[in-house]
Amino acid sequence: MYYNVFGEKVSRKRYKEMVNAAKNRRELITAGLTSRRDLMKLGLLTAGGMLVAKSGLSARAYGQQQAIPPSGSNQVCLPGNQPASPTTRSFVDPLPIMPVTAQTPLSSLKPAPTICPNTAAGEVRAACHQAPELNPSVFPFPPPRIYQMHQQAVSVRQSPDLPAQTVWGFNDGTHGTITPGPTYQANYGTPQLTRNINALPPLTQNGGFGMPSVTTHLHNAHNPSESDGNPCDFYGIGNFCDQYYPNVLAGFSSTNPPNGDINESLSTLWYHDHRVDFTSQNTYKGLLGFYCLFNEFDTGNEETGFHLPSFPQFDIPLVFADKVYDSESALLAFDLFTLDGIIGDKFLVNGKIQPFFQVEPRRYRFRLLDSGPSRFYSYFLTELNNLSAVNPFWVIANDGNLLPNPVEVSTVRIGPAERVDIIIDFSQYAGKTIYLENRLLQINGQGPVPTPPFTAPHFGTQVECSNASGTVLSDILPAGAGNLLLQFQVSSKAVADNSVNPATNPSFYALPSTSAAPRIIRTFKFDRLNGQWSVNGQFMDCNDFRFTVSQNSSEQWVLTNLTGDWTHPIHIHLEEHQILSRNGLPPTLAIEKSRKDVVEVHPNERVQLFFRFRDWVGKYPIHCHNVIHEDHAMMALWHIVANGGDNINVP
């Protein structure tokens, strides 16, 4: 059976033509013939968009007649004239729910963990654990919870229509090796230690991509540097790193002693590989998972605290990933040779392509994570038999941080590494089937198709997803014409729901004050210099600390995007920020009045951020989280020292 880019059956002959067309297309591009006009001039393309005889553009060129794929096809235009992934059926696999990470007895850690790195035994860690050295009664060693994760290869089925794939995942000793890895259920006030062991297969078995050299970052944790999972500390097969997670509120030894600022509570974090220059390959291959952090308000129990839907039954982490499969072998493919970004044509949720999820007619909390590599999402709820309906839902957290109050929306957008926690009330859909749909149009690593005032004139001829008349499509596709990601099958049987109704406008955490005078204002310019991704005209170098922050000081960071057509999701480790302004104006989106750890810096935009760098010392990076850009040096290393710091305002 052979299929075209829209999942329609085609003959073997037609399929061969398509494959040849992809090859011919490369040659045409080499000859500088990229636009439809060029091709029509040469008679290679008819007005109807059909290609003449042997010749061809990519298989996708045929698709230009039908710019908007039929609903549910889960096929989009791939950049770079890659052949489309093999066709897969939608909504035949149930949504995988990652199990809660199992603790392990201290005695199973051999050798026993040590405060200072046990280098002789193969531990690779940059420094002794700061927390137990700072206060052993609050941060005991060893801590009360111990985990051991073997990072290993595992064979998985990502769709019933694709062969088994060898990917990389995490093994907590109880649930086998899985990807996404098991979800940590962590609690403020209970420190924990994870031994991350590199048990990956040698390079000769990597199947075409992936570097078996790792460092595991806990994204947005208020963690000491040596346990942060810094990109410049990495280790090969057979080595390990003990990472001490204090699970402590920011400010505990600075602005808000002794317990920290409750209004800085974090809830949805994630862990992922961060090996410098190879992060994109390793996370794409599966090295990621969730870390949910609870406290006395965000309890994981809908009967207590803020009464948010109970974890894990009605509180569901969802990680989104777009991937490409080889058109011949149907094996997971990764473009090792792109500098721009990777856009897949298959959408996975929790490791399965387009799964379904059976839900009760009640409120659920979903923790949405965009794991990249480069795609942005605009999530909508879609009823396929009522496309004109607007189906609102509630955003309760931005980047895992509960907002002051829930915000009702009809859509929410996130970019790579960003998270939103949402509440969907399925009681209004009892007995129905609805979809979580991505309606954001993105055709390459530049980010979503620019909308005014960011429209780039060249897009008219360049966009392969443009329709037959060459008109650029809107960045938001019509309902049902985007990527259906997840199908909700809503039961008709009424059930109990003791979770808070967001419509009653409950209050969560107040926003911490941003009025502290910054010790220094630093400027970061993100640019592309002859193809080289850069921060302030310089490039990532693990040996080079670009600037020094004084411990427990406030700073203002101004991020400027000098790349005209690109959106960069910029992530800063250790501390969260608040957005003071975008191009001089306070953020207009209600959900941006929040604490964040990733900020989308849009084309030609200048974003002003408020920071306080507290409690810990050591090194951290600032980087673009389009992981292809990150892996090509769009990162800078800096560090925090006690009673010091420099005054370099353009680091």
């Binding site: 040698p202 000769t204 721009d340």
Partner: protein
């Protein structure tokens, strides 16, 4: 060249005993892993490493994949002799990188620079340019046919999404592609990155198993 592959495998083997202590025998069987590997390697060649002819500064005719890349650890970047913005900085940096890497270049690591303007950069021009630069043995310069060179450039991903910019040679990509072809390990770094860091990055291709920590 065989020698190099063995060396790389040796270094991997050195890390293996400890990994056995941790691994629990997961993953595909060795035979199917080999099949996957062969297929993946062929796809990378087909899609990214065209086997097109080039002429070396020594006047030798070679094929890009068969003669320059296959079974080797390589670095590839582009230049042209009259380029007065990006190239002088990148090329001067690579001279220093080569010095840092010392005898590894030409034995384990093969450095390649290819002109983007072969019509100007004839064999003589390339040879003179290379000598003036001070490149040592193990770093080979190439000219060839424009269309072949463009296939290599596009194959290794040194392109812009905007066609107008992509055609503008003065804005050409200043990165250096580096890789270990038999291990299918590929990455790229800015040609203007700090010399020591560029050299360290290239060395990952020889010693991918190395550990690293950065003291603060």
């Amino acid at each position: 060249m065989q020698d190099l592959s063995r060396r790389t495998l040796f270094s991997l083997a050195a890390a293996a005993p400890r990994s056995r202590a941790f691994a629990s025998g997961q993953g595909a069987s060795a035979a199917s892993a080999d099949a996957v590997r062969t297929k993946a390697r062929r796809r990378i060649q087909e899609q990214h490493l065209p086997n097109v002819p080039l002429i070396s500064h020594e006047g030798k005719e070679v094929l890009f994949y068969n003669d320059l890349v296959r079974d080797k650890i390589v670095t590839v970047n582009f230049f042209y002799s009259k380029c007065d913005e990006i190239c002088p900085m990148v090329m001067a940096n690579l001279v220093k990188v080569q010095k840092l890497l010392g005898e590894q270049v030409g034995r384990q690591i093969f450095m390649y620079s290819i002109t983007l303007k072969p019509e100007q950069d004839t064999l003589d021009v390339v040879r003179i340019y290379r000598t003036a630069l001070g490149a040592a043995p193990g770093w080979t310069f190439f000219t060839g046919k424009t269309e072949d060179i463009d296939k290599i450039r596009k194959g290794i991903g040194f392109t812009y999404p905007e066609p107008a910019i992509d055609r503008d040679t003065s804005q050409h990509i200043g990165n250096v592609r580096y890789g270990n072809e038999p291990l299918m390990l590929w990455a790229a770094c800015p040609g203007q990155a700090h010399t020591k860091w560029v050299a360290e990055s290239f060395e990952w291709m020889v010693h991918p198993e190395l550990n690293r920590i950065q003291k603060s």
